[in-house]
């Protein structure tokens, strides 16, 4: 029997593709392909999975 709460599950709209970024282990920060820090890209911050509230609860233990 499917638990009651799961009757209210809905398909998730997956976030749009964002600028690729990579971790710079010496700075301990992520950087964009042109070398600028990822935090300087507002669009990326808003879209990246770890920043918006819904994506947070999707991928992590806490909203």
């Amino acid at each position: 029997m499917r638990p009651f709460t799961l009757n209210y599950a809905r398909p998730r709209v997956l976030p749009a593709v964002v600028t690729p970024y990579r971790y710079d282990s010496s700075m301990q920060l992520n950087v964009l392909p042109d070398g600028r820090p990822a935090v300087s890209d507002r669009e990326l911050l808003l879209a990246a999975g770890t920043t918006t509230s819904t994506a947070g609860s999707q991928t992590h233990f806490d909203d």
Binding site: R12, T50, D62
Partner: protein, 318 residues
């Protein structure tokens, strides 16, 4: 003295805080517990009645004597990236890493013991009562008859999950949803259902607490809207003042729960009353900072660096 941030490498919200620490020349080590053992190396020794421990990753080193504070942000499971990962290896690595960190005198945002407790939504509701918040009537039950009676008594009732959506299924979401009339409650017997009276709301409130600093944010709701995170209403998050009564209850809640960081969700009703919905012990703040301009990452960095004011003051600008 070094700040230790436990999080994954791709966590760009942590980057916001690392950047603030760099600005202030505060030494920092960023470590994902998933990288132990492997990329990250640890040793702790307990000899001659004394203790010391060391962590190193990517050429950065940290000794437990020089540990200033720990921020538990979005850490991976210990040993998750190990070539022979297993639940046993995770348990062993958790012992080694957290056992070492617990041996060091340091400040935590948040201590895992308090974090584990604080994740329980039913417990949150009780602590919210004790702290003086208004809490919508709520039931969590595996008895269909109890669920049915609750829905009949309160009429407009929402269902939400206690732990979040099923973790194995990234394509599915579990938003808080209004239960329509005539719902069949028989399957409540198959899993606990968390039902709550719907708060007819004018706005969602997100209150981010960093030590003593409070950052209030408000987003208007569309009429009849339930989960503020779904459906684009065109409204954005803006800064809002924190009522004194709320600030007092927050102080109480943080004292009872032992949290240094917390992100509260409230529903603001038509009379302007804030109804407690939940308290996320590691709740996201990047979206609030970006939309409101509130300096939350800076506040986290200052707390971790130990340069925080002791006064608990609501931050209400504009």
């Amino acid at each position: 003295m070094t700040v230790l941030i436990l999080t994954s490498e791709q966590d760009v919200t942590a980057d916001m805080v690392v950047a603030e620490l760099h600005l202030r020349s505060v030494p920092v080590m960023r470590l994902d517990p998933a990288d132990v053992p492997g990329k990250a190396v640890l040793s702790a020794d307990y000899a001659h009645g004394d203790f010391d421990g060391h962590l190193s990753v990517n050429g950065h080193v940290l000794s437990m004597g020089g540990l200033r504070s720990v921020w538990v942000r979005r850490p991976g499971e210990p040993a998750a990236h190990a070539s022979d990962s297993s639940s046993w290896l995770t348990a062993e690595t958790r012992q080694a890493l957290y056992g070492m960190l617990y041996s060091a005198p340091t400040r935590w945002m948040n201590h895992p013991r308090n974090a584990d407790q604080a994740r329980y939504k039913p417990w949150q509701l009780r602590i919210a009562h004790l702290s003086g918040f208004a809490v919508p009537p709520t039931v969590i039950t595996t008895a269909p008859r109890v669920a049915q009676q609750f829905a009949e008594e309160y009429r407009d009732v929402v269902v939400k999950s206690a732990s979040g959506p099923p973790p194995g299924d990234p394509a599915s979401a579990l938003p808080t949803t209004l239960i329509g009339p005539g719902a069949d409650f028989s399957t409540v017997a198959a899993g606990p259902a968390l039902l709550q009276r719907y708060v007819p709301k004018s706005a969602d409130i997100r209150l981010t607490c960093v030590g003593p600093r409070l950052f209030g944010a408000r987003k208007r709701s569309a009429p009849g809207q339930v989960d503020g995170r779904y459906g684009d209403t065109g409204y954005a998050w803006g800064t809002t003042a924190v009522p004194d009564r709320i600030a007092k209850s927050v102080q109480e809640y943080l004292a009872l729960s032992g949290l240094a960081y917390a992100a509260f969700d409230f529903a603001e009703d038509e009379d302007g009353l804030w109804w407690f919905l939940e308290c996320n012990q590691a709740g996201q703040f990047g979206f609030v900072e970006l939309e409101t301009g509130q300096p939350i990452a800076e506040a986290v960095a200052l707390w971790l660096a130990g340069r925080t004011g002791e006064r608990r003051v609501p931050e209400s600008r504009g």
